[in-house]
C-alpha cells in the first residue's frame, strides 16, 4: 500500500509569528499513497503547517518538501503538485457544477486536450454524473463536498491537502467521502488530512498528534492507542452519569474523567491501585456503580491525555 518514497518531507520546520512560536522544529514524512492524519487542538499549528506545505506561508527556519519540491524556494511550482480543500469549500454557488469544474481546470492550467477526459473522470469519481448543469447552490452538502474535492484534484496532483473537509457533514456523506479518499489513495495519491473527529482518524494509515507547535505522538491508530498513553484508563459504569462524572473529578486518584457513550472513562496512574477507591468514592456518594474495569484507550482518550494542557492563559488581555 505504501510506496517507498516520501511525498511530504518536513525537517526541523519552525514558524514564528513575532514572539509566538506556531511551529517548533517539527519533523515527519508522509509516504506516497498514504492517508496521513494531522490531529491537534484548535490553534495547535495544523493550519500553519498546511499553509507552509501549500507554499502560502514561508517557514522561519527548517525545510519542507512536497513532491520533491522545496516549498520555500519554489512556492509556485508546489501549487501545481498539490490539491487543497478546506471546510469552506470555496465553490461558486451561483455557477453550475460543470462551470465550477471548468473554472478550477483553468486555474490549475489543465491542458485543453485533456480537459474533456479530466472533467468526465472528476464527475464519475465524485459520483455527480448527470448533475453537471445543476446550480451548485442547490446541491446537498455531501454533494458539494465531493464536488469541491473533484475541483481540487482535476489537475491530478500527487499530494492532496484536506483541512477539516467533513466539518458538519452527515454520516452517510462522510462515509462516501472517505471511500472516495481511499480510491484516490489506491491510485497513488498522498492524502494529508486534518480532522477533529476521532472516528475519522481511524481511517488514516498514520497519524501525527500536534500540540502547541510540537509533535506529541506519531504512529498508526493502533500504535497511538497501545503505546502512547502513559497512564491507565478505566471504564466506569455508573448511574446517574452526570453526578458520577462530577464525583470522579473529586476523587484524588482520578487524573481526568469524561462521559463516553453510556459510561464514564477515568484516567488514573495505576488501574489496579485506583479501582477500589473509585468504587468506594462513587458508592459513598450514593451512586449506583456497575462494572469498573481497565480498557484500551480510544483515540479520543489519547488525544485528550496528550494535549489536555488546555489553552494557555494570555499575557495581558488582548
Amino acid at each position: 500500500m505504501m510506496g517507498n518514497e516520501p511525498s511530504v518531507v518536513v525537517e526541523n520546520l519552525t514558524k514564528r509569528f513575532g514572539a509566538f512560536v506556531a511551529l517548533d522544529s517539527i519533523n515527519f514524512q508522509a509516504w506516497r499513497g498514504e492517508i496521513f492524519g494531522f490531529l491537534g487542538p484548535n490553534g495547535a499549528g495544523k493550519s500553519t503547517t498546511i499553509r507552509i506545505l501549500c507554499g502560502l506561508l514561508r517557514p522561519t527556519s527548517g525545510r519542507a518538501q512536497v513532491a520533491g519540491i522545496d516549498v520555500a524556494a519554489k512556492p509556485e511550482a508546489v501549487r501545481q503538485q498539490i490539491g487543497y480543500m478546506s471546510q469552506k469549500f470555496s465553490l461558486y454557488n451561483d455557477l453550475e457544477v460543470i462551470e465550477n469544474l471548468r473554472f478550477f481546470a483553468g486555474l490549475y492550467s489543465v491542458p485543453t486536450k485533456d480537459l474533456r477526459l479530466r472533467l468526465a473522470w472528476a464527475l464519475r469519481m465524485a459520483g455527480i454524473e448527470g448533475r453537471e448543469r445543476a446550480l451548485t447552490r442547490t446541491l446537498a452538502v455531501g454533494w458539494k463536498q465531493r464536488l469541491a474535492l473533484a475541483c481540487a484534484v482535476l489537475h491530478r496532483p500527487p499530494v492532496v491537502f484536506l483541512d477539516e473537509p467533513t466539518s458538519g457533514v452527515d454520516a452517510v456523506s462522510r462515509r462516501q467521502f472517505w471511500e472516495l479518499i481511499q480510491q484516490m489513495v489506491s491510485e497513488g495519491i498522498t492524502v494529508f488530512v486534518t480532522t477533529h473527529y476521532m472516528d475519522e482518524a481511524e481511517y488514516c494509515n498514520r497519524l501525527v498528534l500536534i500540540d502547541r507547535g510540537r509533535i506529541v505522538a506519531m504512529g498508526t491508530p493502533t500504535e497511538l492507542k497501545t503505546r502512547h498513553m502513559k497512564r491507565d484508563l478505566l471504564m466506569v459504569e455508573c448511574e446517574p452519569l452526570g453526578p458520577g462524572l462530577e464525583a470522579l473529578h473529586e476523587i484524588p486518584a482520578v487524573l481526568d474523567a469524561a462521559v463516553f457513550g453510556s459510561s464514564l472513562h477515568a484516567v488514573v496512574a495505576n488501574a489496579q491501585a485506583a479501582l477500589p477507591g473509585i468504587r468506594r468514592g462513587l458508592e459513598s456518594r450514593g451512586l449506583k456503580v456497575g462494572r469498573v474495569e481497565q480498557i484500551q484507550p480510544s483515540l479520543e482518550d489519547v488525544f485528550v491525555a496528550l494535549t489536555a494542557t488546555r489553552e494557555s492563559v494570555p499575557k495581558g488581555n488582548a
Binding site: 500500500m1 458538519g168 494509515n205 463516553f260 489553552e311 488581555n317
Partner: protein, 318 residues
C-alpha cells in the same frame, strides 16, 4: 421519569413548498435528559429545533415546551428555553464578559444572580482566565463554549442546540459535554442535533430523523442492537486486498476500509466465516484475524438511511 416531559412534539408538520421538512413528527424529551437528533442533511433537524425555539411556525401538530405551546405562543416559551444555533450570535468585538452581560441584560437577570451564575459557567467552560479577551480572538472551541455560557445565563429549563460542536476539538468538546451533564441535575432538558455519532452515543436517547420522520428512537445501547446482521473486523497488512476479495461475497452487505482493518457487514457471521476465510486464502490476501465488533450508532444510521426504512422491529418514538 418526571411527571410531564419537558418537550412534547405531536404530529408536527412543516412544509416548504413541495418539501415535507417535518412530517407528522412525534417524540418527547424528559427533564434531566439529553436527547440527540441525528440524520442526513435535510432530514428536518434544524427545522424541528427552530419550531421548538419559536422562531419558525408549524403547519400542523403541536409542540409543547415546558407546558407551553410554542406553535401558538412562541413568546412565552422564550422565558425558559434557550436556543443555540449553528452560528450563535456572539459579538466578536465585545469581550467575553461584555457578551455575557449583554445576554444577561436581554433576559433581565438581576445583577447579583448573574455574577454568581456567570462565574460558575465560565469556570466550567475553562474560560475564567479569558474574561477580558475579545470574543473574536477566541479559538473556535472557546467561542462555542462562550455561546453555551450565554445561552445558559438565564438558567433555562429547556436547552435547544443545533450542531453546537462542529469544528471543535476533542478537548473543548469534552468540556462542552461536561457542562451539558452538569445541567441535568438542575432538571434541564437538552435537545441537540449532531452530525457526529460519537456524540450521539453520549445522549440518553437518540432519534434518527429521515425525510422529516423519526425512523428510529431509543437509547444508544438499544439502537445498536437493532443493527441488521453483524460486523466482523478483519485485521490485515493489506486491507485493500481484503476488501477487494470480500466485497460482494455472499452475505456481505458492505466492506468498509478502516485504517489497518476492514469492517464487514454480514448477515450471519458464524455461517459465513469459513467461506470468507477461504476467499481470502484463494485470493492470497494476508490477514491476521476475524474479530466480531459491535456495530456503532454510525453503522446503524448509515444502514437505516441507505435502506430508506427502519430495520425490522423499529421502535416507535417513546
Amino acid at each position: 421519569m418526571g411527571p410531564l416531559p419537558a418537550i412534547v412534539v405531536s404530529a408536527l408538520s412543516k412544509r416548504f413548498g413541495e418539501v415535507h421538512a417535518v412530517d407528522r413528527l412525534t417524540f418527547d424529551v424528559n427533564a434531566g435528559e439529553i436527547f440527540g437528533l441525528v440524520g442526513p442533511d435535510g432530514a428536518g433537524k434544524t427545522t424541528t429545533l427552530r419550531i421548538l425555539a419559536g422562531v419558525l411556525g408549524a403547519d400542523a401538530g403541536s409542540a409543547m415546551v415546558g407546558g407551553c405551546d410554542v406553535v401558538r405562543n412562541p413568546e412565552r416559551a422564550k422565558l425558559f428555553l434557550s436556543y443555540m444555533s449553528q452560528r450563535f450570535g456572539l459579538y466578536e468585538d465585545l469581550t467575553v464578559d461584555e457578551n455575557i452581560r449583554f445576554f444577561a441584560d436581554l433576559f433581565g437577570i438581576p445583577r447579583q444572580k448573574r455574577v454568581q451564575r456567570s462565574q460558575e459557567l465560565l469556570a466550567a467552560a475553562g474560560l475564567s482566565d479569558f474574561r477580558r479577551r475579545l470574543a473574536g480572538n477566541l479559538s473556535g472551541g472557546m467561542k462555542q463554549k462562550l455561546g453555551l455560557v450565554c445561552a445558559l445565563i438565564h438558567t433555562p429549563k429547556v436547552l435547544l442546540l443545533d450542531e453546537p460542536t462542529n469544528g471543535v476539538d476533542p478537548v473543548s468538546r469534552r468540556d462542552f459535554w461536561r457542562i451539558l451533564y452538569s445541567l441535568l441535575a438542575e432538571g434541564v432538558a437538552v435537545l441537540t442535533s449532531t452530525s457526529y455519532l460519537d456524540e450521539a452515543e453520549r445522549c440518553h436517547r437518540v432519534g434518527l430523523l429521515y425525510r422529516g420522520r423519526m425512523l428510529l428512537c431509543d437509547r444508544p445501547e438499544e439502537l445498536k442492537k437493532k443493527f441488521p446482521g453483524e460486523v466482523l473486523a478483519v485485521h490485515s497488512a493489506q486491507p485493500e486486498r481484503v476488501r477487494e476479495a470480500l466485497a460482494g461475497a455472499p452475505g456481505v452487505r458492505h466492506a468498509l476500509l478502516v485504517g489497518d482493518r476492514v469492517h464487514l457487514f454480514v448477515d450471519d457471521a458464524a455461517r459465513r466465516l469459513e467461506d470468507l476465510r477461504g476467499r481470502l486464502e484463494s485470493a492470497g490476501a494476508a490477514f491476521d484475524s476475524f474479530q466480531p465488533v459491535r456495530a456503532s450508532i454510525e453503522d446503524l444510521f448509515v444502514s437505516a438511511v441507505e435502506s430508506g426504512t427502519a430495520p425490522a422491529g423499529a421502535a416507535k418514538p417513546s
